[in-house]
């Protein structure tokens, strides 16, 4: 008996199962060969209008439309969002982790770059 519990990693679907007999029905190839994986997308969700879109995770999807739909199902099902952005992960240019020291450490002792040395007028409560 072909059994749906065998899951997607069990390889290509068996030839000609009865449509009510189980198995996933999705084209084979997930698993061993990474070139058949759907591409990875980064998901940004805006919690309410006026706020920024915040990065909240990533997912695999075949194309932009599917990425938006799946992001909706995976990341906003508990009312987390009012707007979603997705972007292909391979389209993001990131700083080199190896350069972390030379990039970010020099800022450690530059306290004068924080505007904390000004006397604020009393009328300004919240800064």
């Amino acid at each position: 008996m072909s059994h749906p519990e065998s899951g997607p990693s069990a390889g290509p679907p068996q030839a000609g199962p009865h449509p009510l007999g189980g198995s996933t029905g999705v084209p084979a190839g997930r698993g061993a060969d990474m070139s058949h994986e759907w591409p990875l997308w980064e998901v940004f969700v805006r919690a309410k209008s006026g706020l920024d879109h915040k990065h909240c995770g990533s997912l695999h999807a075949a194309d932009p439309k599917m990425a938006i739909q799946l992001a909706r199902d995976v990341y906003t099902r508990r009312q987390e969002g009012t707007s979603i952005w997705v972007v292909r992960s391979d389209q993001i240019v990131a700083s080199d982790p190896g350069e972390k020291g030379s990039y970010f450490d020099p800022m450690e002792d530059k306290v004068y770059r924080h505007p904390t040395f000004y006397e604020l007028p009393k009328s300004l409560d919240h800064m």
């Binding site: 679907p13 449509p19 996933t24 199902d73």
Partner: protein, 261 residues
């Protein structure tokens, strides 16, 4: 062991049970994908939809139980209606009780049912029963998303590999005869249409066909010929699969009455 309840046979109750039961049994079938969908993201999407349908079923069954009391019968709550009815008293479309099958069967059934439910909810927003109209207003948004999700997948499968296209064709051959019941009308439908409670199923046929035929075409499918076969779930006469799904769904409440956690 909890004894079965007897339900009112008044047409308003029967009309609501057909809708609520179709949502409930469809939800039960969709929920079977939990942990088994082709990809993790789709697993969450399918179970989300199952939960939407459970929510719709709860609201409609609650209303049906109230109407039972109002028309002189015994009122029942949603749990009694879901867990303590016998097979013959469930009035869902036979289509939704068929096994979930492969992903193509699930996607095609989702598309057909979401389209049908969307058209039904749209009309129920104008129901003479304000409670039902309120339920419909919320549910129609959910159905619209379910329809879009399923339609996208149909096109992907139909336009995908040879394997996915032939599975979708097999799914259509399998499910097509059961679609007819969505548009059968009887005295319950006539009552609903006459009193403004809701549309008769026959009224949905034209709009459903107008949305489904282009989708079938875009998915590379040709609608099979009409058949004389009619399934009869909405009259309480079910396929051989129904008893099993009820056994699984009702076992806990039947064994431990009122169990909660």
């Amino acid at each position: 062991m909890s004894a079965s309840i007897a339900i009112s046979k008044t047409p308003d109750v029967q009309y609501l049970l057909r809708i609520g039961d179709s949502c409930l049994i469809m939800a039960q079938r969709l929920a079977e994908w939990c942990g088994h969908a082709p990809v993790l993201e789709e697993d969450i999407a399918l179970t989300n939809m199952a939960l939407d349908l459970v929510g719709q079923a709860r609201a409609v069954l609650t209303r049906a139980g109230e109407l039972e009391g109002r028309s002189g019968g015994t009122a029942h709550d949603e749990d009694q209606l879901a867990f303590l009815r016998d097979e013959r008293d469930f009035l869902n479309l036979t289509l939704v009780e068929l096994p979930r099958g492969d992903f193509a069967v699930t996607v095609l059934r989702n598309a057909a049912m979401a389209t049908w439910l969307k058209l039904l909810w749209q009309r129920l927003e104008a129901s003479s029963d304000a409670e039902l109209a309120g339920i419909a207003g919320k549910a129609v948004k959910e159905a619209r998303y379910h329809q879009q999700h399923a339609a996208d997948w149909m096109i992907r499968l139909g336009d995908g590999s040879d394997e996915s296209a032939h599975r979708l064709r097999d799914a259509l051959a399998l499910l097509w005869p059961y679609f007819a019941e969505m548009f059968e009308s009887d005295e319950v439908d006539a009552f609903a249409a006459d009193t403004g409670l809701g549309p008769s199923r026959a009224e949905l046929r034209e709009a459903w066909t107008a949305e489904m035929l282009p989708l079938l075409a875009e998915s590379g499918l040709t609608p099979p010929a009409e058949r004389a076969f009619r399934s009869t779930g909405t009259r309480g006469r079910h396929s051989e699969h129904m008893g099993y799904i009820l056994a699984e769904m009702q076992h806990l409440q039947r064994t431990f009455a009122g169990a909660a956690w």
